[in-house]
Symmetry: C2
């Protein structure tokens, strides 16, 4: 199936004519969203303000993004992808090493702007509840998936049972969420960057005890 046979969806109709130029323009629009939200908060963000800041026509913004909610979700995802751990990047031999490498990579690579941006979005959830969905789907889900990938690799190595992994990844379970909440408390609320020593404490004192379920137990 080639790209051209798919419904256009959020693809811009003009994409075929100048993809490189369009990519640069889209990056400029996302950059404008990030700047405006960090400067003025979510409440004041409008499509017009984004267009003006990115120096594009308002119609150009609307061609790709239907609403400011879509824009904010894509901006958050852009930041998170920049901090994502490349698949297979960690050659760790144990679950502990894998978790430390994975969480350190995210902590170190997460641009300060990303921390600020998601903190501002969190502040907006009280008045704009749909922003909570954006945070859950675009920021928290990514961290969750990286920890899940560590668990699956550990399961393949025989460090943890399949039943335990399944339990930990059941929706509504709180173990993985606690580790993510702790990184948010430390980094976004208290402004501490978790270095490798801080991440190791998090893994040893919280994540590994909660993961439990080693095959011999």
């Amino acid at each position: 199936m080639t790209r051209s046979t798919r419904p256009a969806g959020r693809q811009r109709p003009g994409a075929a004519f100048g993809p490189v130029r369009d990519e640069a323009r889209n990056a400029r629009i996302i950059e404008a969203v990030l700047d405006l939200i960090v400067e003025n908060g979510y409440g004041d963000l409008t499509m017009s303000a984004v267009a003006a800041r990115a120096e594009v026509a308002k119609a150009t913004v609307y061609r790709r993004w239907a609403s400011r909610e879509d824009l904010v979700a894509d901006a958050l995802e852009t930041l998170m992808l920049a901090a994502a751990v490349p698949a297979g990047a960690t050659a760790a031999g144990t679950l502990r090493e894998d978790l430390i490498a994975t969480l350190t990579q995210r902590s170190v690579c997460l641009h300060p702007q990303a921390r600020h941006f998601s903190a501002v979005l969190a502040a907006a959830t009280a008045s704009h509840p749909q922003i909570a969905d954006t945070l859950r789907e675009r920021a928290i889900a990514g961290q969750r998936e990286e920890i899940a990938a560590c668990l699956h690799r550990a399961q393949k190595r025989g460090e943890i049972t399949a039943e335990r992994v399944e339990l930990l990844l059941t929706p509504g379970r709180m173990e993985i969420a606690a580790a993510i909440g702790l990184t948010i408390l430390q980094q976004e609320l208290l402004g501490a960057v978790l270095d490798i020593e801080g991440v190791a404490r998090l893994v040893d004192q919280v994540l590994l005890p909660l993961i439990g379920g080693i095959p011999t137990s």
Copy 2:
């Protein structure tokens, strides 16, 4: 030692002349801070704006609070005290019951305004790092102390060793912080109110496993 022998500190010089009227006025000033921050964020907060909103002279605000940082800290503390668990309020017979009662009380009694207010402050920490100290000292420390009180009561009942309690309360340990981070993730970022069932899952899946250290182990 009577109050009049102590240095005045942050007491207003005029306190002796109209304490009831002054209390009402101070409450109005704190209310103005809460309203303004929820409406406009921390960046735009000024002593003048607070005075105007509370309909008092600017000098009246400065008589008690030296800066907007002091004002914000007191406003946060006022909100947190309203949700605090009264000492001896829980007649729980086990650590589990005590933790569930304590965390549920705080979760249920925390006014939505308090959640919004602290989320807005969290968003301000990136540009105003001293706000992180305010959050740590006025909001997070209170939650920590309530959980510590549960641990001490459990220790008296013989449910947990003194050594384990001491370890868990060592600065820099991550176990209690993980539980607090989880409540912040759920309530302030994701906008979910933790009801008694949610608190019970938090206690059973995260807090009790991390607390560990029962005397027989």
